[in-house]
């Protein structure tokens, strides 16, 4: 590991990036197409409905439970198994679609489902119930989209103020790439997309940007130091010099999230999957998209070195 990312790497990222940008562009288009055509498997936070978590005997099948519940409720019923139950038992999650109702499922209806389960399904035990009405869920969708959009804008402005506008564009393109690919993989695999995934996407934006900014910082430093060299070469050196750090941070973050994915329980599995994917995509994008793309925006040579050392001096 130490050898692999020695300080002296000379990997020609800029020439690799030409291909990477094309591949990424295709992946982004595929992701958007998947999102538009196949759509997302929204959780109840976003489409309203009721989710009941139960534990049942191992012998019970998902189909049994679905049939019992379907008998007494109007909405579409889906049941999936979950890990992490006690010995001899298995966990299941029953989801009942809301059918467009503004309010949450009534207490009477929930009680009816619960007693049906307890009476007809062997060894069943209700562990938790969540019901969300259409009024709240449509708001959550709006808020989720607004949150992601606002974050991108706020970050774009911050980078623009601290760097040049080209950096700001580069960062936004890379972040758009990360967000698209994350939504794309959720659409492709049909995994549940709920509020925690929006949180994960915002965390991915934060992470990927953190990664990108460190490389940008170095490129800016190099640009103001050597005014005669070709921009491509300077960018390439910036990426190479920060490569060890990029790799280290990605690895420590991935280690932590992997622990969360494996040991954090089924509730956090979607979130940690999104993060695992997002950290990989984000690391890739800060190396192969965010920095190389700077040349496409006609980066200024450092004639006007903006506050490079503004913060660096404080503690020197």
């Amino acid at each position: 590991m130490q050898k692999l990312f020695s300080t002296k790497t000379q990997i020609p990222f800029m020439s690799m990036a030409k291909w990477c940008v094309r591949v990424s562009a295709i992946l982004v288009i595929v992701s958007i197409a998947l999102f538009l055509i196949k759509g997302l498997n929204y959780g109840i936070d976003f489409r309203g409905g009721t989710e009941i978590k139960i534990e049942v005997s191992e012998t019970i099948s998902v189909a049994d439970v679905r049939e019992q519940v379907s008998n007494i409720v109007a909405g579409e019923v889906s049941v999936i198994t979950e890990s992490g139950a006690d010995a001899g038992k298995q966990g299941m999650k029953i989801r009942i679609a809301a059918d467009g109702a503004e309010a949450a499922m009534s207490e009477d209806a929930i009680t009816a489902v619960k007693s049906e389960l307890t009476n007809k399904i062997e060894g069943s035990e209700v562990r938790g119930v969540t019901s969300i009405g259409g009024a709240v869920s449509s708001e959550l969708v709006q808020k989720g989209i607004m949150a992601i959009g606002l974050t991108l804008i706020a970050i774009g402005i911050y980078i623009w103020l601290r760097f040049e506008w080209q950096f700001s564009m580069g960062a936004i393109v890379a972040l758009f790439h990360d967000v698209s690919l994350t939504i794309g993989i959720f659409s492709l695999l049909g995994m549940t997309f709920d509020l925690s995934i929006v949180a994960a996407i915002l965390a991915i934006i934060g992470y990927s940007l953190n990664d990108t900014v460190v490389v940008y910082d170095r490129i800016r430093e190099k640009l103001s130091m050597s005014k005669s060299e070709d921009v491509d070469i300077v960018i390439n050196r910036g990426i190479n010099e920060t490569l060890r750090r990029t790799a280290m941070t990605s690895l420590t973050t991935l280690l932590a999230i992997a622990a969360l994915y494996v040991f954090g329980g089924s509730e956090l599995r979607g979130f940690s999957f999104a993060m695992l994917w997002g950290v990989c995509v984000g690391t890739y994008s800060s190396i192969f998209i965010a920095s190389p793309i700077l040349t496409y925006f006609g980066l200024d040579r450092g004639d006007k070195p903006k506050s490079t050392t503004k913060f660096a001096d404080i503690d020197a």
């Binding site: 974050t151 965390a203 940007l209 420590t252 932590a256 979130f271």
Partner: protein
């Protein structure tokens, strides 16, 4: 020389010590919680046996603040309800209509017959003698000003008089409705004796209710499901025809015995006037509810009874006629009894609801969630496990790559965890399951600042192998990247906090606290450790 002024060293140690002080109680969670509960009970004079000794089990000079565990971790009921406040306007209109109708009908010879035309949320008055419209408007305005009712605006439109609540009046009514709804919800939940409920207003017209503990689910829902709006009405007709068409200012309501009553829509008195209610028994010895009206209510009720002797009046609770007794005689004191085939338990419950007051408007449940205590405990266990393993993996990896410096980074990481827990305890925010995810994520990302510094030191050292200078430069030059990287993450977390709902906010909070503390520990904590190390060992090279 890598120096760190004495006052800075001192400050760093002080902050860390504070962190330990405020984080420590969380390591004895249940002990501190029990002591806190006992103290709380003693304060409100509801001490139970053994509380005196319990309250002293945690020394008072130690901090007793704990990280609040969210409902998803400790188990409990969460309900988000919407207050249907528009209904309050309609009631105001109905009530006001009753008054002006009487005023106009007193001048029937002048205005002709008076009726109210159906409109959306307003009063539209039509009179038979259209030429007197202006006169009718003046009469209405006069009536309003006699009553001191300034909240209406009047206009002649299209052959009728439109009466609206002004926008100012509406927003004032909204505020009152919300304040009262919150108050009533709080009283009802408190009456049920549940433990530390959190009841707060959310946005314009919503109330969020969090009640820890599982046993009370049905009870909570039962308490919120009823408006407990009690009104007394003049009975116009007893009927069995449930499809009967009734006038605009009349009501057709079912009765508990299956028959239907046609009633005057304007109530004689409403539950607002009730000052006390208790379990009682009717003349047949069956459970009933006694209630007493305030002076104003008693006067109105008295006036009504004096003019309607030997006629029935209906006691209506939440759109259902409980009973319709005959008025035997003038009732002056404002005391009455409600009977209606209650069990003792039902009558007691109704008395509680009437005593806490009616909700000004019905509540619609928008969101409800029940987490069993087992599920919560499982989540806590899994989260703790994931955090420990993440911490171990990251620490081992840092140690392997950075050797001695890795030890410093790991000590900083450990203190970072302590500061996060301390921060959560101090601001009293709630730790949710996504919050735990935020902490685990912070473990992975917090070492980033140290990685940046160490890598920069390595570069500086490679360029010019003078250790002290390399370390100095490494810290100085990495700072700009560290700040930029963390400010941007902070932006994302802040947006999430303002837009996120419920548990996701918990994630944003831990992430924000984690970013601030990790920059502090990684930059200043690590630096202090390095200065001490350099003084102590005087190493000749980097070691990694």
């Amino acid at each position: 020389m890598v120096n760190l002024p004495r006052w800075q060293r001192f400050l760093i140690v002080i902050i860390m010590a504070f962190g330990v002080f405020f984080a420590f109680p969380n390591s004895q969670y249940s002990k501190v919680e029990k002591a806190n509960d006992a103290i709380a009970r003693i304060e409100i004079d509801k001490a139970e046996a053994g509380d005196e000794t319990l309250s002293t089990t945690w020394p008072s000079w130690l901090s007793n603040r704990l990280v609040n565990l969210g409902l998803d971790l400790r188990g409990g009921v969460h309900v988000l309800v919407q207050v249907e406040k528009d209904q309050v306007y309609n009631e105001r209109y109905d009530e006001f209509w009753g008054t002006i109708r009487d005023a106009l009908r007193d001048n029937r010879d002048r205005f002709g017959s008076v009726r109210r035309e159906a409109t959306d949320a307003a009063i539209r008055v039509k009179i038979a003698n259209a030429s007197e419209l202006q006169g009718a408007l003046e009469k209405i305005q006069e009536t309003a000003s006699d009553l001191g009712a300034t909240e209406y605006s009047f206009a002649i439109n299209d052959g009728g008089i439109d009466i609206h609540l002004t926008d100012a009046a509406k927003s004032q009514i909204d505020e009152l409705t919300m304040a009262r709804s919150l108050e009533i919800v709080r009283r009802r939940i408190d009456a049920a004796g549940t433990k530390e409920p959190t009841i707060q207003r959310v946005g314009e017209d919503r109330v969020s209710i969090d009640v820890p503990g599982f046993g009370s689910v049905e009870e909570v829902m039962e308490l919120l499901g009823k408006t407990a709006k009690l009104t007394l009405h003049e009975v116009l007709e007893l009927t069995n025809d449930q499809t009967m068409r009734v006038g605009f200012d009349e009501l057709l309501l079912p009765s508990v015995d299956g028959s239907y009553y046609r009633l005057d829509k304007a109530a004689v008195v409403s539950g607002d006037s009730i000052v006390d209610a208790s379990l009682g028994y009717d003349q047949n010895g069956l459970p009933a509810v006694n209630f007493r009206l305030n002076t104003e209510g008693a006067k109105k009720f008295g006036d009504f009874t004096s003019t309607h002797i030997n006629e029935p009046f209906a006691i209506v609770l939440d759109e259902e006629v409980l009973s319709a007794p005959n008025i035997q005689s003038y009732i002056p004191g404002g005391q009455a009894i409600i009977s209606g085939n209650f069990s003792v338990e039902e009558a007691t419950n109704l008395a509680v609801l009437l005593r806490s007051g009616a909700l000004p408007a019905p509540l619609t449940v928008l969101e409800q969630s029940v987490v069993g205590p087992d599920l919560g405990q499982d989540s806590v266990d899994a989260g703790r496990m994931a955090a420990m393993i993440a911490l171990a993996l990251v620490a081992l990896y840092m140690l392997w790559v950075y050797r001695a410096f890795g030890v410093f980074a790991n000590i900083s990481l450990f203190f970072n965890m302590i500061l996060i827990v301390a921060g959560l305890s101090i601001i009293g925010s709630t730790l949710t399951l996504p919050g735990i995810a935020g902490i685990v994520l912070t473990i992975g990302m917090a070492v980033d600042a140290n990685v940046l510094i160490f890598e920069r030191i390595r570069e500086e050292y490679a360029a010019k192998p003078v250790l002290i200078r390399a370390i100095d430069q490494g810290f100085a030059r990495a700072l700009s990247s560290i700040l930029d990287g963390n400010v941007t993450t902070l932006i994302a977390a802040a947006v999430l906090y303002f837009f996120g709902a419920g548990p996701v906010r918990g994630f944003a909070i831990t992430l924000m606290i984690g970013i601030v503390t990790s920059v502090f520990t990684a930059v200043y904590g690590t630096r202090l450790l390095m200065v001490l190390y350099l003084d102590w060992r005087k190493p000749k090279d980097l070691g990694y």
